[in-house]
Symmetry: C2
DNA sequence: TAGTAATTGCAAACAGTTCGCAATTACTAT
DNA sequence: ATAGTAATTGCGAACTGTTTGCAATTACTA
C-alpha cells in the first residue's frame, strides 16, 4: 500500500538525521488510516516512547512537510491542523458535516483547475487546496 | 457595486439588534476592497469609535457569518482568518505566493465539482473551499 | 572512538480567538 | 416619551494550537 521509503537514507541524503522522534512520528503517520492532529500523533508516539515532547512532534511534522513527506490540512471547524502522509493535491478532501468522516477523492478535476488557470489566466498554480464539506452517502437522508 | 442591504432591518428580522459595533464592522467590511483580519477590522473600527472591543468585533463577525452576510477564509500561511462580505463559494481564491495578493476567480469550475460529486458519488456538497496558491501574472518570471 | 553540529526536552512565549460577568444599551410595549 | 427586559457590550482573563530559546543530549562523520 505505502511505498516502503527508507526514512533514514532519505533524511541523511538531505542533511538531516534520523532520530527517535522522527522515526516514531513517521511510523504513526504511516500506520494511521486517516488524518491526525499533532496532539493525536503525540499520544500515539508517547505510547512507544513517553519522553518525546510535543514540540518535537511539531518539528518533525514541519520537517516532513518541507521535504514533501507529510501534508497538513485544516479540515475541521476548529483551526487545528491534521496531518497525514503526503498525497498529491489532486486528491482532495470530502468532509462530512454530520459524521465528521473525511474521504479522499481523486480525479482530474483539480488538474482541470490548474490548466484552466495556467492557460487562460496566466496564473501558475503551485498548490491547490480543495475541500468540500457536505453530507456523505451514509448521512444523506 | 454592493447591494445596499438594510442591516438594521435584516438583523431585527432575525431577532438581533443593530448595535454600534455591528454597524461599524459592517461598514468596514463593505468599504474594504479585499480580505481583512479581525485585527485589521478592529483598527479601522477603532478609528471611528475607539471604545469598541476586539471581542465585539469577533462576535459581530461570527454573527454575520452565521447569517450569511460575511465570510471567513484562511488565506495566508499564518492561520489567521480573513474576512470579507460574503461571496458565493463558486468564486474562489487565487493567492500569489510572492506578492501575497489575493484575487477572486469566478466560473463554473466549482459548480462542476459540485455536480460531479452529487451525480456520481452521492456526496451532497454544501460548501466548497477552493484556494489556489501560486504565482500571479505579474510575479511570474 | 572522539568530535561536532544537529536535535531534543523543557518551559515559557506566542497568536488568534473565545468566554464569564457585571454594566450598558436597543428594542418593545405600554 | 418611558420603563422594562433581554440582548449585547467591554473588559480581562482563559484557552488552543503552535513556536521558540537554550542547555543538555544524540546521531552522524571521520
Ligand atoms: Mn488527505
Ligand atoms: Mn474572497
Ligand atoms: Zn457522514
Ligand atoms: Zn504576485
Amino acid at each position: 500500500m505505502t511505498d516502503p521509503i527508507d526514512l533514514g537514507a532519505f533524511l541523511r541524503q538531505r542533511g538531516h538525521r534520523l532520530t527517535n522522534p522522527r522515526r516514531l512520528v513517521w511510523d504513526v503517520l504511516g500506520a494511521a488510516r486517516g488524518h491526525l492532529t499533532a496532539e493525536q500523533i503525540a499520544t500515539r508516539v508517547g505510547r512507544r516512547d513517553s519522553r518525546i515532547n510535543l514540540a518535537s512532534i511539531y518539528r518533525s511534522l514541519t520537517l516532513f512537510a518541507e521535504l514533501g513527506l507529510a501534508r497538513e490540512s485544516i479540515l475541521g471547524t476548529d483551526g487545528a491542523g491534521r496531518w497525514e502522509v503526503a498525497h498529491p493535491d489532486d486528491e482532495f478532501h470530502l468532509i462530512c458535516g454530520r459524521c465528521g468522516d473525511v474521504q479522499h477523492h481523486g480525479g482530474d478535476l483539480v488538474e482541470q483547475v490548474r490548466s484552466h488557470l495556467g492557460n487562460y489566466h496566466a496564473f501558475k498554480a503551485a498548490t491547490i487546496e480543495l475541500s468540500v464539506t457536505g453530507l456523505c452517502s451514509s448521512c444523506v437522508v
